[in-house]
Every structure is written in structure tokens, then in C-alpha cells.
């Protein structure tokens, strides 16, 4: 009796959130899906049914193919670099060196800055001008005698230009991954590591066999948070390269087609397409983690 009442109370507590999400997420997605199946072009709503024509056009669209390729490269590199760099920083800081707090602040503070500001600063740093107009990091490398590092940065011909955009993104978010991993590492009891040391394991083996396996759930959390940032990346790229099509990603295409071209139907199709693609990746994760939790 009490149990049922408490169950009802529990549901009542979360129902405002459920209602809000139902409207603001799923209601609006529903609207967007409906628009993606219509012929709405121009500022006057036009819900004339066209079936999957917009999606078919999208798959044939050369620009969208570039978008997909760029997203794949960017997301893959961004996740890998953030996780690896974050892990490296966490391991370094775990060594209990002096000044740990200061270093930690230095690695963490980029998170405080918006992607737009990061883009503005890195636009200057990644300037690809050559010869007498050398600038940015190229100029620094040249002055330090490291001419081998001078590159065209994000103006590298496709498909690798987008890879250089990973640099400011990692600069901004690796501190977050570092904090996650450091918390995860520090959460592993010292006795466990001490016992291993007594058994003769060296530091490297301890990290490899004891620490890293325990960090898997942290990695999955990081992937979720970083993943949604990376798939929706917009401000950073626009701040660095304007709307250069060679560095186009779906969110930029969606913006320009919706608000610069007033083609709401095709813009909605891009949005829904991205959502479906994301759910194909996320739903398995969620059900996997749900199952593992029930198993424990």
C-alpha cells in the first residue's frame, strides 16, 4: 500500500520533466520529422506531402556526402584524441607531483571558454599563410627552427583539412576527460595498487592491468558527453573557417539551408537524418549499459 503510494509519488516527481521532454524534445522532433516529409521552401509553411524525396535528395547530394565524411573523421579523431590525451594527463597528474593543482587548473580552464572564442583564437593560431606573411603557429615553428612542422592546417586539401579542427576541440575538452579519468583513477583504492606493488608489479603493469580496466565505465560516460558535442559541432568550425564547404558538417549545412536559403524541409531532413544516425549508435550503448547495471 505504502509502496504503491510511494511509486506514484516517484512518478509524480519526475513527470514534469517527462512532460517537458515529451514536448520540447519529442514533440518538436515530431514537427521536424513532419516538415522533413513536406515541400516547405520559403517563409510560408507548406506541409504538402513529398514522402522521402528530401532524404533521397540528401543521399545524392555531394555536399552532404562531404558532411558525412567530415563528421566521421572529426568525431573519430576527436574522441580518440580527447580520451588519450585526457588519460595521459590524468596519469601524469596522478603521480602526485608538486604543483598538481596548478597544472590541473591549466588543463581544465579551457572548458570555461565558449567554442566561439576558442575558434577565434585558434583561427589566428592555425593561419596557413606562407612566405613573408607567415603567421600563427607556423611563424612560431619557423622562429624555433621547426620548419618541418609548418603546415596548411585546416586548409589542407580534403579530406584531411577537418582533422586540424580537432586540435582546438581537443584543447577545449581534454581537460574534462582528464578530470573524469583522474577522478576514476583516484577512486581506485590505493590498497589495491599497493598490494600489486608488493606482489612485484611495476607501475606500468599496474596501470595496464588494474587501473585501465576499471576506467571503462568512465570512458563510456566520456564518449556520451563528448559524442553529442562532436556530432553537433557548429560554432567552432564557423568561427575558424566561415562556411567553407570543404569543412562543412551537417549542422552547418542544416543552418545555411534553413536560414540562409529558407528551405525548411531539407533542413529538417538533415536534422532527422543526424538523429537517426546518432540513435543507431546510442541506443545499443544505452541498452548495453542498462543490462550491465541490472546484472550487478
Amino acid at each position: 500500500m505504502r509502496r504503491t503510494r510511494e511509486r506514484l509519488l516517484a512518478v509524480a516527481l519526475v513527470s514534469p520533466s517527462i512532460l517537458a521532454i515529451a514536448i520540447f524534445v519529442y514533440g518538436f522532433i515530431g514537427w521536424s520529422a513532419r516538415v522533413s516529409l513536406s515541400a516547405w521552401q520559403g517563409l510560408l509553411p507548406n506541409y504538402a506531402w513529398v514522402g522521402l524525396a528530401n532524404y533521397a535528395q540528401l543521399l545524392r547530394d555531394r555536399r552532404f556526402q562531404i558532411d558525412m565524411r567530415n563528421t566521421a573523421i572529426f568525431t573519430g579523431l576527436f574522441l580518440a584524441a580527447c580520451l588519450l590525451l585526457g588519460l595521459l594527463l590524468a596519469i601524469l597528474l596522478d603521480q602526485r607531483l608538486k604543483g598538481e593543482g596548478l597544472f590541473r587548473s591549466v588543463f581544465l580552464f579551457p572548458m570555461a571558454i565558449s567554442f566561439i572564442v576558442t575558434g577565434v583564437a585558434w583561427r589566428w593560431l592555425m593561419n596557413p599563410a606562407t612566405g613573408t606573411r607567415l603567421s600563427g603557429l607556423n611563424l612560431l615553428f619557423h622562429n624555433l627552427g621547426l620548419d618541418g612542422l609548418v603546415s596548411a592546417w585546416h586548409t589542407t586539401p580534403p579530406p584531411w583539412g577537418i582533422a586540424f579542427i580537432v586540435l582546438p576541440a581537443v584543447w577545449q575538452m581534454s581537460g574534462f576527460t582528464m578530470a573524469l579519468y583522474l577522478a576514476g583513477i583516484r577512486g581506485i583504492s590505493d590498497e589495491l595498487r599497493e598490494a600489486a606493488r608488493v606482489d612485484g608489479a611495476n607501475e606500468l603493469q599496474i596501470y595496464r592491468h588494474i587501473v585501465l580496466p576499471q576506467l571503462q565505465p568512465v570512458t563510456l560516460s566520456a564518449v556520451i558527453v563528448l559524442g553529442h558535442i562532436s556530432l553537433k559541432i557548429f560554432d567552432l568550425i564557423v568561427a575558424i573557417s566561415g562556411k567553407d564547404i570543404r569543412l562543412d558538417v551537417p549542422s552547418i549545412y542544416m543552418w545555411t539551408i534553413t536560414f540562409d536559403a529558407n528551405n525548411f524541409a531539407r533542413g529538417a531532413a538533415i536534422g532527422i537524418f543526424m538523429l537517426v544516425a546518432v540513435s543507431l549508435l546510442i541506443v545499443p550503448y544505452l541498452s548495453f549499459s542498462g543490462r550491465t547495471e541490472e546484472g550487478t
Partner: protein, 273 residues
């Protein structure tokens, strides 16, 4: 042990090099922000300014100040309320399983992935229809709602690390769902709140899209004003970068002051998967 002594300086060197990587962009922002307009030049970007041209900061500040106030009025309530809501949600989802809870949680989490550009039109229509368009309350509401997934996730993970025995013990003492929250779990929630507040403060403070779409000019947060500093034709980079630094100061303060609590919160299990 001698290996350790050799390795330590190397570790410091590595950390220092990495620190340089992280500080380079700030150097660029700061140095350019202190230059006069005539000095701003891509080829001399690494050079120190000829003098401390604080008038850039003054000019940026004059244009940004009213909007900095708006940002504070927006971010503090929005972060606080979304943290409170996330805490309640996380509590329910981690300690009070009802049928379908996991599925619903998954559906809520999925909300993190929607591209906001694609829902701007219905969002504006809805907010306008409930009379909240143009001012800060509407924007606060929107940030609270779209913050539900991440705040719920963080708190759910955090409360999951707290043993269920606490709930059981509270039950035995006769407390109900709300009572257990208020007397037992809420006092233990500080690390979770720190992580959520820091995350939400940063996200909301730096957000541009909703800010520009949902507010009138007098209610613009600082992100919109900063964008307007740039202008649409010629950009005064020195003022722009000074403005960027000013706009980032509050979040920087939050990170500097609360950084170690952020870490403690994470250690306490706030995002342990």
C-alpha cells in the same frame, strides 16, 4: 628508485610542454586584446603589445556590461533550478525504480542529441504562445528543460554510488520518498551539485543560439553582445579579443575557485558511467 628520480624531471618537462599548449591561445587573446588597432596584424601576432592599451577593455566592457548583468540573471537561476530538478530526477531514477523507469531515462537521455537548429521554429512559437518570448524567464525555462538530460544523468550516476542501505535505513525509520531525500540524500549531494552547477553554469553562460533567438535586445546575454562587437564588415580584433576575455572571466572564476570541488564531485561518482 633512481629511475624514479630520472623520470620525475621528464614528467615535469612533459607537463610543462603540455601547459604551454593549453596557454598559447590565451596568450594570443590577451596580447591582441592589449594592442592598439594599428598594431593588430597577423604577422606580428606573437609580439608583445607596445603598451597596455586598456581602453580596448574599457570599450569592450562598456558595450558588454549590461549584457553581463543579463547573463548573470540568466545563468544563476537557470543553473540552480536545473541542478535542483536534476537532483530530484536522479534520485528517483536511481533509488526508486518504477516500471519502465530505465526506458524513460533512456528517452530523456536521448534528448541531449537533438540538433537545436532544427527545432528553433516550434520552440519560438511555443514560447511565444505561453507569453515568455523576449525576456529572460523564457530563456531560463528553455535552459532548464534542455538541461534535464545531462543533469539527470550526472545525479543518477552520483546517487547510484550511494548505497541503497541508506534508503532502507530511512524507510525503517519511517521516512517516505521525500523525507529520505530531504534528510538523508540531499545532505550528501554536494559533490553532485558542484559538478552539475559548474557544468550548467558554463554551458548556459556560453550558449549563443537560444540566447539570440529567444530574447529582445535589452535582454541579450553577453554571448550575443560579444558577437555584435565583431560587427558584420570590419572586425576590430583588439576590442573583440578583449571582449572575449571579459566575457569568459566569470566562468574562469568559477573554474579557478571551484575546480578542485569539481574533481571531488567527479571522484564521488558523478559521471562514473
Amino acid at each position: 628508485m633512481t629511475l624514479r628520480r630520472l623520470v620525475r624531471p621528464l614528467l615535469y618537462l612533459l607537463l610543462l610542454l603540455l601547459a604551454v599548449f593549453y596557454l598559447l591561445p590565451v596568450y594570443v587573446l590577451l596580447v591582441t586584446g592589449l594592442k592598439s588597432f594599428a598594431e593588430v596584424n597577423l604577422q606580428t601576432m606573437w609580439n608583445l603589445p607596445s603598451g597596455l592599451h586598456l581602453d580596448n577593455f574599457r570599450e569592450a566592457f562598456d558595450k558588454l556590461w549590461p549584457h553581463l548583468k543579463n547573463s548573470l540573471l540568466l545563468t544563476l537561476p537557470a543553473a540552480g533550478l536545473s541542478a535542483a530538478l536534476g537532483s530530484l530526477n536522479g534520485y528517483v531514477f536511481s533509488k526508486w525504480r518504477f516500471p519502465g523507469a530505465d526506458r524513460i531515462f533512456g528517452l530523456i537521455l536521448f534528448g541531449m542529441f537533438i540538433p537545436y537548429q532544427s527545432i528553433l521554429i516550434p520552440l519560438v512559437q511555443f514560447i511565444n504562445s505561453i507569453g515568455l518570448y523576449g525576456g529572460l524567464p523564457g530563456l531560463i525555462l528553455v535552459h532548464i528543460i534542455y538541461g534535464i538530460p545531462i543533469t539527470t544523468l550526472i545525479f543518477r550516476n552520483y546517487y547510484a554510488t550511494l548505497p541503497t542501505e541508506i534508503v532502507e535505513a530511512g524507510r525503517i525509520d519511517g521516512a517516505g520518498l521525500l523525507g529520505i531525500y530531504r534528510w538523508l540524500l540531499f545532505p550528501l549531494s554536494l559533490p553532485g551539485f558542484v559538478v552539475v552547477l559548474i557544468w550548467q553554469f558554463t554551458s548556459i553562460w556560453n550558449e549563443f543560439l537560444f540566447a539570440i533567438i529567444l530574447t529582445n535586445p535589452s535582454h541579450w546575454p553577453v554571448t550575443v553582445a560579444l558577437n555584435n562587437l565583431a560587427g558584420s564588415q570590419i572586425v576590430e580584433w583588439n576590442v573583440q579579443m578583449a571582449g572575449a576575455l571579459l566575457a569568459a572571466l566569470p566562468t574562469l572564476v568559477v573554474y579557478v575557485v571551484l575546480g578542485r570541488y569539481f574533481l571531488r564531485g567527479l571522484m564521488a561518482g558523478a559521471l562514473k558511467g
